[in-house]
């Protein structure tokens, strides 16, 4: 099917339903111009992002959307289209298992090697990431933390360029504080899908964490790379929490609550 036909269909569907609804889009789908606050002229192909007077002149594209040469916007991922008026941002919420590093995201990595200046980290990307040995709070050439191969570290992606190894840090470069990043001691870590990890980080959507918190105290760190670390008072609780989180992926709020309740009763 030609992209132009698809755009026409999407336009028609949107006119019938004016309320904001869940919009599923597929790779190659065009973002209809009026949705992205662009003028909808007679000739849709002549639409430009820059010449609109009524709406904010610029839009910000997040993950999953890419501008084309002719100023149309197409999706490169399958998922749910999202929009926020603050800054007129558009992005596609999708799910995948392979992590692609993006700057500013917090991730959990495993130390897989050490050179003079860097730790080599496995954060689930296609290539290993680099963590400079001095990227820690109060680290100097003489006094710096020492990690072994296999240790778990909670860090932030400092730089992620295409075709290059990502660079991580465990310190806020402006304040010099650790901001909670650093080694994760004890506990247990496991992989979940990237979509679930993102939901666990959103306080409104992380029903499972809230429900589990009602029953027993635990610590958790969620990496955007789909790695989740948890620690609690006993191994039985940690196992329960890990399995509850894994089970919660496709459950509604009510189902999630009853699942947690059932699992806690069984213990």
């Amino acid at each position: 099917m030609a992209p132009k036909n698809k755009k026409g269909q999407a336009d028609a569907a949107d006119e019938s339903t004016s309320a904001p609804t869940l919009r599923v889009i597929l790779p190659g789908d065009q973002l209809p111009p009026h949705e992205a606050n662009l003028p909808t002229g007679q000739d849709e192909d002549a639409v430009s992002m820059m010449i609109d007077q009524r709406a904010p002149p610029t839009i910000k594209l997040g993950p999953g959307l890419t501008p084309m040469d002719d100023d149309t916007i197409i999706s490169v991922k399958a998922g749910v289209l999202n929009h926020t008026d603050i800054g007129n941002r558009w992005w596609v919420e999708s799910n995948q298992r392979r992590y692609v590093a993006a700057p500013g995201e917090s991730v959990i990595g495993i130390v897989t090697g050490k050179t003079g200046e860097h730790y080599k980290m496995d954060i689930g990307t296609a290539q290993p990431a680099l963590l400079p040995v001095l990227a820690f709070e109060n680290a100097t050439k003489k006094n710096r933390p020492n990690f072994n191969i296999g240790d778990l570290l909670y860090c932030r992606v400092a730089m992620a360029n295409k075709d290059m190894e990502a660079e991580l840090d465990c310190v806020n470069p402006t304040t010099g504080k650790s901001d909670g990043f650093g080694e994760l001691k004890g506990g247990f870590a496991f992989k979940v899908s990237l979509g679930l990890a993102r939901r666990l980080l959103d306080p409104r959507q992380a029903v499972v964490l809230r429900e589990l918190g009602k029953h027993f105290p635990f610590e958790t760190a969620v990496g955007m790379n789909g790695k989740v670390w948890i620690n609690s008072a006993s191994t039985a609780h940690t196992i329960l929490i890990a399995n509850a989180i894994k089970n919660s992926e496709f459950l509604s709020t009510a189902q999630c609550q009853s699942m947690v309740k059932k699992m806690v009763e069984r213990i």
Binding site: I110, T112, D122, N148, G150, D151, L152, L184, K185, G186, G187, F188, A189, F190, W229, S234, T235, A236, T238, I239, L240, A242, N243
Partner: protein, 282 residues
């Protein structure tokens, strides 16, 4: 791509949990994961799901000339295919040690235990025999590929039916499904593999290890038994040494598991036969 080792935290937690009497997925030490069998539309296509491990087996057959020294014996071949679909550690065209071990074990368990009647595959002695080929594809790797592959292979062989043949003066005619009911293979017994993993110097024994458990284990052992309590094969490639009574203990566990699994396979085959409206020879 090189396999990534689990973190020290995962490793230590797993061992501590075993000491406390728990497994990471909440199973008991001697529990198998949930086994699901689904059959394809054709005879001899089976997909086995053991927890998150998924294996597909497909049986096909053709008429070939037998070896001159064994003129009445047909052939059974097993072909394992580990693609990067199962795990990013597998590469196309490059056999891993694990793949070699799995395919050798399947050969040992099913062919060398004489589970399939190869003499029954003879059509005309010295002239024409059936060659049965079992393709085993690994779709998703979450540990214990051997057990899943063995269940898939034997279930596919039991599910398979070859075309009926008519021999008239040395002339062999294959009859299509419309002309005559296809014939099931004659299978003497159902060998089932049960894999064990050992931790903490052999103190802790678990059945059906997951991928993480396989990475952390100190040793492993795979036993192949049938429902008549006959040990068909025993494989222990490396790892820690075991005491005699540990092996006997494993045999006792395996007998129980094999009985359960055989019943489940038979029930699944019966249900499928009922759906297809055909009778099944037991």
């Amino acid at each position: 791509m090189k396999e990534t080792e689990p973190s020290n935290n995962e490793r230590e937690f797993l061992l501590q949990a075993l000491k406390d009497g728990h497994r990471i997925d909440g199973r008991k030490f001697y529990d198998f994961r949930t086994l699901r069998l689904s059959f394809g539309s054709e005879f001899g296509a089976v997909e086995v799901q053991l927890g998150n491990t998924r294996v597909l087996a497909k049986v096909s057959c053709e008429v070939v000339r037998p070896y001159t020294d064994k003129p009445t014996e047909g052939f059974v071949h097993f072909n394992t295919e580990m693609s990067p679909m199962a795990s990013s550690t597998f590469e196309i065209g490059k056999q891993t040690n694990e793949e070699i071990l799995v395919s050798r074990l399947i050969e040992k368990a099913l062919r060398r235990s004489r589970a399939i009647d190869t003499e029954g595959l003879c059509i005309v002695a010295g002239e024409k025999v059936w060659s049965v080929r079992v393709d085993i594809h690994f779709l998703d790797h979450d540990g214990n590929l051997v057990d899943a592959a063995c269940i898939a292979a034997i279930t596919a062989l039991m599910h398979f039916r070859r075309p009926e043949i008519v021999v008239d003066n040395g002339e062999v005619t294959l009859l299509s499904i419309e002309e005559a009911n296809p014939v099931p293979l004659s299978i003497y017994h159902i060998p089932i593999c049960v894999s064990f993993a050992f931790f903490n110097k052999g103190q802790h024994v678990i059945v059906d290890p997951t991928y993480l458990e396989e990475q952390v284990k100190e040793g492993d052992m795979t036993m192949t038994l049938n429902i008549h309590k006959e040990v068909c094969a025993l494989s222990k490639a490396g790892g820690i040494s075991l005491e005699m009574d540990q092996i006997l203990q494993c045999t006792r566990i395996a007998v129980v598991k094999v009985t359960e699994l055989t019943e489940q396979i038979q029930a699944a085959l019966d249900a499928d036969a009922k759906k297809r409206n055909i009778s099944r020879r037991k």
